[in-house]
Amino acid sequence: MSPAYPKLGLTHIAGVKKVAMQIFNSREDVEFYEIGVFDVNWKPINFVSLYKIIKIDYLSTVKFDVYLTDADALKAEYLCSRSKLRSDKNNKAMLATRICSRFK
């Protein structure tokens, strides 16, 4: 997910800030990624995006915007994407990957 250090910008709506992000899927075994915004203590923060779970084909890039109110923007510290896994019938420890950018 990039950029690693996103900066919130202004929107045409008063009191709302926006950041443009993109995710590249390098995992062949993953199709969906969930995005989340967290404060410094990893508590979730409200945000708006077109989709919170995004389908990304293998080796593809998807661009998306995240909107935060000014109050939430002050608290936001991390913006993360986490892979969504499908359950299967094997007794195995599966790997969920999470990439977190940090607001500057």
Binding site: R27, C80, R82, N90, M94, L95, T97, C100
Partner: protein
Amino acid sequence: MKNFIVTLTLMLAVSPVIAENIYINGDVESRCSIVQDTAGRWGNPSANVLTTLPASGGQVPIIRFDYSLANAYYASISTPISFSTSPSLSDSTVFTGVVAVTQTSSSDMSGYQAASTTPAANTRQYALTVAGTTWFSATSVATHGGGNSTPFPSGSYTGIVVASCIAM
């Protein structure tokens, strides 16, 4: 011919200055990526134990972190503390996990394990201070029933290792 020259002269006279914008575009991908190098698998050496240890028929998952920037990311790896899928269990399950550096692309990374921290009981966090590649193992053991050694019911069990790359 005369008309053509007049027309051309008029066109040139009224043409605005033409400026071409030359764009340079570039996409920057994340400088940290996580790859599952080896899939994990629980073995079932005794009725009430599931373990990823190879000696017990399991397989320890190996996770590879590639990062091209020094002092920019933390690697954080959490072993399971519950099953994501399992049959209905009649007793409690205790999970233990160990995360370790198994291989590095640079000898300068030899201090990663000693310098790592444990922000949560099942989580180990490493400061990635040298650019390159590091492989981590995440051993997981699940014991059912505590002192009662209650056997696991038959069925499929899945646990999830969470590997994070967090910007510093």
